[in-house]
């Protein structure tokens, strides 16, 4: 029997601690500056604000404020320095500071908006392209406004679907596939809290509206060591804090969704509460407005409490609840069959501290996440699956000159429950896990930046410890002025908690979360990403990114070729997702356009003993070609957005035909000669067919009326402007074809008090 922790993992940990101690000691004799940067108007942290020190002797030190607005500079040699803190759209802050040996200074810097610049700031900020590196797209909330939605507010879900490599099997169901990874292989975090099924049943919407978003880091692969537990992608969403200066809020109404948001400064400049309620209205309006039923109900509730406890510490508590229900096949009035319900709950608290005695940002956090899923297949067959997770983590971010270290420890425990009426199959289980990660960022000269990392994870259930090395790199061939940027990422990933889902039926979004089988290899993946970005003109950027994901031990539902519509069992398959994303992005003050093409292929290798699958096959989310065109015009208070999406057909299993199956179990029973049987479908080889291509044009126009303290936005738009009959599902058993949304006009009104 092999020991749970190989000798070299212990030795690596020891070396890491020794190196860290030595580096810290070397820095201790120099001065340090830390603090936070906030918006002087509402005390919002200004993530990414530039903090620069220029010494009299010419030495320069700099850093950027993190998501909480905190920054730290260490290794400051004694002397006088010019401090400059700047952020786009704000008047820079300057001061002169003198440091002595080992001096510790803390600053609370409030930037004020530069009114002269503010008129152009909307356009200016939107001109910033999404920050991208290998696999990563860092999304600012303003970017979300480019994607036209049938709603006056914006949402991360609608925007993600305009990015290459993101595939949804339809405009409903809340399933998002990222570069070959399935929804249950995506790690979705909201302020650090895992959210198991965050996308609403109507595909435009998620639990992440633009109004709440501070920023989102979306890794389509190749994510660093601070993320774990999933093998495909990470969507890490950070919400903003409530206004700490005055009470503000907004209310909106549109055919799909209505919302109310309020922000209250509980203690001025220190403590705020942000609350949001969104609830669908489409299920009530669709009959009269659209002339057809749209029986989906969804919504979410969000509350965030944030407090600056001191200039170097803060506390945030976040709560989220979502609900979704409906028959994903869209059959109105059939509440007894194929009816899906899911409810997320997530609660978390984070304490962030920048201690005076060390240049380390410390963060302690606990999160509780829960998902309740129900699926009523028939009136007497309801399936229930629950997952409850508790996560705790303690992370540190060291700032050692040009080297940044990020490391931490974490632990989690997860409970699963599954029950199915009508069949004696009920399960309950618990798994626990824990481990640590370490990530370092080195700038080797002015051209190369390396971010190696290591994640060590231990699991219960007799699963061996996993050690996942990761590496991210960026190379600027001509230094910071380079027009070309090469990025790459590589890593190994393991996943203990798996989601079992009937991927062959897009209307069945019911997911059973469970622990990976005991004493068997965990699902795992290897990612390799290489990308290049080049600025062709100051306002045109071309990027290309190739990726490879090798998957192993992935659970996949196996259908009998002959039997009826039920998963026979799950088999473990190996697979590979590979592809190339090309993206051309144009930014002008009043014009934004992005054209992207994604060439991808996902193939699964079935187990050798399972002859029914035949050879390698493409799973139902294998979209080979994808084109996204996103265009936004802005002129004064007017904005026009267009999004055209094209996706080649997804695989499906074609059939030989239908037949009636008779029951023969007794040679003395000759009833088969005249019996009528049960209809079965005879399936052909798995996934050799392709559905028709998908394409759709959405258009949205809006006009903003700005008053002294109120902003009114009117929106009008149309989804599926040329009324393409995009197939959502072809039901073999009823012969019925269910299409995605037809042409739907929309109009919305939003009133915002600022």
């Amino acid at each position: 029997m092999r020991p749970p922790h190989p000798w070299w993992t212990r030795r690596a940990a020891l070396l890491f601690l020794l190196a860290l101690g030595a580096a810290t000691a070397a820095q201790a004799q120099w001065a340090a500056l830390r603090g936070r940067v906030t918006d002087g108007a509402d005390a919002q942290p200004l993530a990414g604000a530039s903090v620069a020190l220029a010494g009299e002797a010419g030495e320069r030190l700099g850093t950027a404020a993190d998501a909480g607005g905190f920054f730290a500079l260490t290794g400051i040699r004694p002397g006088r320095y010019a401090l400059t803190v700047s952020f786009l759209g704000y008047a820079p802050f300057s001061d002169t500071l003198a440091f002595t040996f080992a001096e510790e200074r803390t600053l609370d810097i409030r930037l004020t908006a530069d009114e002269a610049e503010m008129a152009g700031i909307v356009v200016e900020s939107e001109r910033r392209p999404d920050r991208r590196a290998a696999g990563l797209t860092a999304i600012e909330p303003s970017a979300l406004a480019r994607a036209p939605l049938p709603d006056v507010t914006y949402d991360l879900a609608g925007y993600l679907l305009t990015l290459p490599g993101f595939v949804a099997p339809g405009d409903r169901g809340g399933q998002l596939f990222v570069r070959g990874g399935t929804p249950t292989q995506n790690l979705v975090l909201l302020d650090g809290m895992p959210v198991y099924q965050p996308f609403h049943i109507v595909g435009f919407f998620s639990a992440f509206p633009a109004d709440l978003l501070a920023h989102a880091d979306v890794y389509a692969g190749g994510f660093g060591a601070r993320y774990g537990g999933r093998i495909s992608s990470v969507i890490d969403v950070s919400t903003r804090n409530g206004n700490k200066q005055r009470v503000v809020g907004a209310a909106s109404i549109a055919p799909f969704l209505s919302s109310v948001r309020v922000e209250i400064p509980v203690v001025r400049n220190k403590v705020s509460v942000l609350a949001s309620v969104r609830e669908s209205v489409i299920e009530r309006l669709s009959g009269g407005l659209l002339g057809r039923e749209f029986p989906f109900r969804f919504g979410d509730r969000f509350v965030k409490f944030h407090a600056f406890l001191s200039p170097t510490s803060s506390f945030a508590a976040t709560a989220l609840r979502t609900f979704d229900e409906g028959n994903v096949a869209g059959t109105a009035g059939d509440a007894e069959r194929r009816f899906s319900t899911w409810r997320n709950e997530a609660y978390g608290g984070r304490y962030t501290y920048l201690p005076a005695e060390a240049a380390v940002m410390t963060q302690a956090a606990v999160y509780v996440s829960r998902l309740e899923s129900r699926y009523r297949l028939t009136a007497d067959d309801e399936r229930r699956a629950d997952i409850d997770g508790f996560n705790a983590e303690l992370t540190f971010r060291y700032l050692l000159g040009d080297v940044q270290l990020h490391f931490g420890i974490f632990g989690n425990t997860t409970r699963f429950a599954f029950a199915r009426n009508g069949r004696p199959r009920t399960g309950n289980a618990n798994v626990t896990g824990g481990g640590g990660f370490f990530e370092a960022r080195f700038d080797l000269g002015r051209r190369l930046r390396l971010t190696p990392g290591l994640r060590l994870q231990s699991f219960s259930n007799g699963v061996r410890t996993a050690l996942d090395p990761r590496l991210r790199a960026r190379w600027l061939p001509r230094g910071p002025a380079s027009k070309t940027e090469i990025t790459a990422a590589w890593g190994l990933y393991h996943q203990q908690i798996i989601g079992l889902n009937d991927e062959q039926d897009v209307t069945d979004v019911f997911t059973v979360w469970a622990a990976a089988p005991e004493r068997r290899p965990l699902p795992r993946a290897m990612h390799l990403i290489v990308g290049a970005r080049r600025r062709l003109l100051p306002w045109i950027e071309l990027s290309a990114e190739g990726y490879l994901k090798r998957l192993e031990n992935v659970s996949f539902p196996r259908f009998s070729k002959a039997l009826a519509d039920d998963v026979e069992r799950f088999v473990r398959v190996a697979g590979e997702a590979r592809g190339l994303d090309l993206r051309l992005e144009m930014n002008r003050p009043a014009f934004f356009a992005r054209v992207s093409y994604s060439l991808g292929a996902v193939t699964y290798e079935p187990p050798a003993f399972d002859a029914d699958f035949g050879e390698a096959f493409a799973p139902p989310h294998d979209r080979r070609h994808q084109v996204n065109v996103l265009v936004a015009f802005a002129r004064g208070p007017y904005r026009l957005s267009l999004a055209w999406q094209f996706g080649s057909g997804l695989p499906f299993t074609r059939i030989n035909g239908y037949y009636e199956r008779l029951t023969l179990t007794d040679p003395d029973d000759d009833a088969f000669r005249t019996a009528s049987g049960e209809t079965f479908v005879s399936r052909g080889p798995a996934y050799r067919g392709r559905l028709p291509a998908y394409h759709r044009l959405d258009v949205s126009a809006r006009r903003v009326f700005t008053f002294e303290r109120v902003v009114v936005t009117l929106q009008a738009g149309v989804v599926n402007a040329y009324d393409r009959a995009n197939v959502f599902q072809y039901n073999f058993f009823s012969g019925e074809r269910v299409n995605q949304l037809p042409l739907i006009p929309s109009a919305g009104l939003k009133v915002e008090m600022r």
Partner: protein, 286 residues
């Protein structure tokens, strides 16, 4: 600027071309162009029957299409050891739900131990096929009887059998010593036995059966008390392997359903003379 415009123009042209191509077709083609299965067939060969039956249904293109039409198919069976081929005849039967179905039949008695291939052939030459092996009668290995007059029993092994037999009946051929009126008395053992080292073991409860025989037997008079024992036999059904998992048949190619066989066999053996005597019978076994 001009270069940027050229890039934009290229992209828009590519998008327009993609749209033009993609917009052509939005139809779903659920049926395979080259299907791999053609018929559903349900039936079995029975060694005890003079006429064999199998229901045949072509795979339908639509789930709603359950029309009663003619079936263009030729059904044949071939005894693979000899190559003898039998053509089956179609008959229309009224099903339980009022529709009509195609019940093919052939007048022959399958040979135990034979392998048969059933072929359902379409006019275009495509066919569904199923093969089955008709179970032959196993060799019988009777163990020496054990026990005394009150619990005498005997284990009989059907050699080489690894799967259950069903509908086991045990037949005693006896007569009154006085009248010589020969009678066969049958005991139903149903799905008796269990898997043993040499085959399928069936335990016969001879003493218990004899007590029942004595109660049932109609004697001529008070002096008629002795029975003569002429022999012992056991009949049983031996289904083919397909009956073990009838919902997942592996013997049908290019089709679905069920096709199996059943051997209905009788085996006999000579009971040990001492055991006959212990039971108080007069041994007259041939």
């Amino acid at each position: 600027m001009r270069r940027g415009m050229r890039i934009i123009a290229c992209c828009l042209t590519a998008c327009a071309a993609a749209l033009g191509l993609a917009a052509c077709d939005d139809a779903v083609a659920p049926l395979l162009d080259e299907p791999e299965a053609f018929f559903a067939l349900h039936g079995f060969l029975d060694t005890a029957a003079d006429t064999q039956f199998v229901r045949v249904e072509p795979l339908r293109a639509s789930i709603l299409d359950a029309t009663d039409g003619p079936l263009e198919a030729v059904v044949t069976s071939t005894h693979l050891q000899t190559g003898a081929t039998t053509t089956w005849r179609d008959s229309l039967v009224t099903l339980d739900d009022g529709r009509t179905g195609h019940l093919f039949f052939a007048r022959f008695r399958p040979l135990p131990g034979g392998d048969y291939r059933l072929t359902v052939l379409r006019p275009d030459g495509r066919a569904s096929e199923a093969t089955t092996h008709v179970p032959e009668a196993p060799a019988v290995q009777p163990a020496p009887p054990s026990g005394d007059a009150f619990n005498l029993m005997q284990r009989v092994t059907l050699a080489g059998l690894t799967r259950p037999v069903r509908e086991v009946d045990v037949h005693y051929l006896v007569s009154s010593t006085l009248t010589d009126s020969l009678r066969t008395i049958t005991f139903v053992y149903r799905d008796a036995g269990r898997r043993g080292a040499q085959g399928w073991d069936v335990d016969l409860f001879l003493a218990r059966d004899l007590r029942t025989i004595r109660r049932r037997f109609v004697f001529a008079n008070e002096n008629d008390t002795t029975l003569t024992f002429f022999g012992l036999s056991m009949s049983f059904d031996l289904p083919s392997v397909e009956w073990l998992a009838p919902e997942t048949p592996a013997n049908i190619a290019h089709g679905h359903g069920f096709f199996g066989a059943v051997g209905r066999h009788t085996v006999s053996w000579r009971l040990d003379a001492e055991a006959v005597h212990t039971m108080g019978l007069v041994d007259q076994q041939p």
